[in-house]
Amino acid sequence: MSHASNAIATPSPLKQWWLKWRFHLNILLLLVPLGFMPKYFADQKLFRGESGLGATPIENIAVGPWSISLAELRAEAPRQDGPAGYFKVFNAALCATCGSEVKAAYLRIGKPRSLRAAGTIFFGNPHRMATSLPVPERTRGDAELWITLEGWDGSMHQASVPLAKASPATLAWLDKQGGKK
């Protein structure tokens, strides 16, 4: 070990390894976009609406005189948005003939007491609209997802679907949350 300071003569195994493999970092880095490319193009397709409304679609839910199709954007657990909590994006499409009569569509976990508390409003247009639904961590597994449609004439109609049906992934996530507490 008296020659240990002479790094040239006896490089440490770690250094040898680094010298041998350092340029392979480039290959590792190049594998990243290659690996994500299918996901990128699948997402592009999803955003262009070419993969349908979304995951686990529920077609033509009757809401008063109208009907609406609902789907989660992705079959996955709600995503956290910092301190604001967890959110789940849902897409919806109104029936072909009711698009002009419906003024607004809302989504809420649990039955709204009034139109003012109808939940989050959908943005978009009758063919495809989206909303980001807050999902409290304490939501019960048997919770219902309530859809409120408001007509231009002031009428209001409601319907509900089980959250477990609209988003099985959210249910699984809720079960896990419950397990933690």
């Binding site: 190049l30 976009p33 994500f36 490319m37 990128y40 959908f122 063919h127």
Partner: protein
């Protein structure tokens, strides 16, 4: 002694310079090349795809207003919903109109600004989007806050800045290179690439500084964003109050003002507002959101017009920005070069190419020289350290 110490110090700087990007040189090169492509991606698409060109039917033809375009689209596709319409920077580009068809597909249409005719729709492979995604976040998806690919790429701003600084330190009297450019072709590859690296380096000082500083800003932006810290003073426009939206006597929607009326209201209320894009209300309680480049071309000015009350409910103008925002909001356009039309883009693309070549030439020089220099320096490290005078402020930081 001092002379020798100075020399070894500059050798150390030189080694730092040489090693900054080396193990990941190919990654850096691809980021530079994709960035260069992204700058002119719109122009490349313009060359490749006739659909995105604004061809004039005849000399007398005049540009349609946004509402006239909407009317033409309504006629052509009565069931289609329009979300957004914009005139890209440059009158040679067709209008971009984001639409949704009844089947839920949501492409961007290229619409002739003179006739309102649909010339085509965005292809499945979006070249502009792809080059930007590859350059900007290495295609790593955004799942929770910023993608880690964004961090990976924006982190490169730091070694790039360090390369610039160390490069200028080791290139003694670099300013002389401006007056006496040297590019020797007949002395072998090493000499040529060395000259090339230095020559393109000094002419790119401003560009490397701009790109690395703005690139580092993207890193800061992500850190701020992921920690939910905002420096924006842009007002959050609340949705239109329920009582401001009149009830309809029938089942049909209440009449709302059209895009031309909204544009007129906005430009009358806000002198100097240029409207090059319009977003249609995204539901019954939404505003018509209009805007365009401000007098300071690196920033956009916007206005939200209430389609029922005809009021401008919110606006965000160049003068509304805080001093800090003036700096931070300028970062992105300075990075991408899309603030002064084609000329600026071409300058950015040219220097982007030069920067890519600097990475390549740097590598070529390294393979021929730095390996030996490093071996020599390591040998010297065995000798006892010399005393030295602090002769240059640039060399003081290296002592450890």
């Amino acid at each position: 002694m001092a002379q020798q110490s100075k020399k070894s110090k500059s050798r150390l700087w030189f080694l730092i310079h040489s090693w900054l990007a080396l193990p990941i040189w190919f990654f850096v090169l691809i980021v530079c090349v994709t960035g260069t492509l992204a700058v002119v991606s719109q122009e490349i698409v313009w060359l490749a795809n006739p659909d995105v060109r604004a061809s004039k039917p005849d000399d007398a033809a005049e540009r349609l207003s946004f509402q006239q375009v909407l009317d033409a689209l309504k006629k052509a596709e009565p069931d289609m919903a329009v979300r957004f319409i914009s005139q890209p920077d440059g009158s040679h580009f067709a209008l971009n109109v984001a639409v949704t068809y009844p089947d839920g597909t949501a492409p961007t249409l290229y619409v002739n600004p003179y006739t309102g005719a649909i010339q085509g729709k965005s292809p499945d492979f979006n070249f502009e989007g792809f080059t930007r995604a590859l350059h900007g976040w290495w295609l790593v998806p955004f799942t929770n806050g910023y993608s880690w690919g964004w961090y990976l790429v924006s982190l490169l701003g730091l070694p790039m800045l360090a390369s610039l600084v160390t490069g200028l330190v080791v290139y003694k009297k670099f300013w002389k290179g401006f007056f006496k450019p040297v590019l020797r072709f007949n002395h072998g590859a090493r000499i040529f690439w060395g000259d090339f690296h230095r020559l393109s380096g000094i002419w790119s000082i401003w560009f490397i500084a701009v790109i690395s500083i703005t690139g580092t800003w993207f890193l800061i932006q992500a850190i701020l964003g992921d920690n939910h810290i905002t420096i924006s003073t842009e007002p959050i426009t609340p949705v239109i109050a329920r009582e401001d939206v009149p009830l309809s006597d029938s089942r049909e929607p209440v009449a709302r003002i059209d895009l031309d009326q909204a544009t007129l209201i906005a430009t009358t209320n806000i002198p100097g507002l240029d409207v090059t894009f319009a977003q249609l209300p995204s539901n019954a309680y939404g505003h018509i959101y209009l805007g365009g480049r401000g007098w300071y071309p690196l920033m956009f000015q916007t206005a939200s017009v209430n389609p029922y009350t005809r009021n401008v409910d919110a606006s965000f103008l160049v003068g509304d920005r805080s001093a800090l925002e003036f700096v931070t909001e300028s970062m992105r356009p300075l990075h991408t070069g899309d603030f002064g039309g084609l000329a600026i883009k071409l300058i950015w693309a040219f220097f982007g190419l030069v920067l890519s070549m600097m990475v390549l030439s740097g590598l070529l020089i390294w393979t021929k020289r730095t390996a030996q220099a490093t071996a020599a320096a390591l040998k010297r490290a065995d000798k006892p350290p010399r005393q030295r005078k602090v002769s240059q402020e640039t060399t003081t930081e290296v002592q450890s």
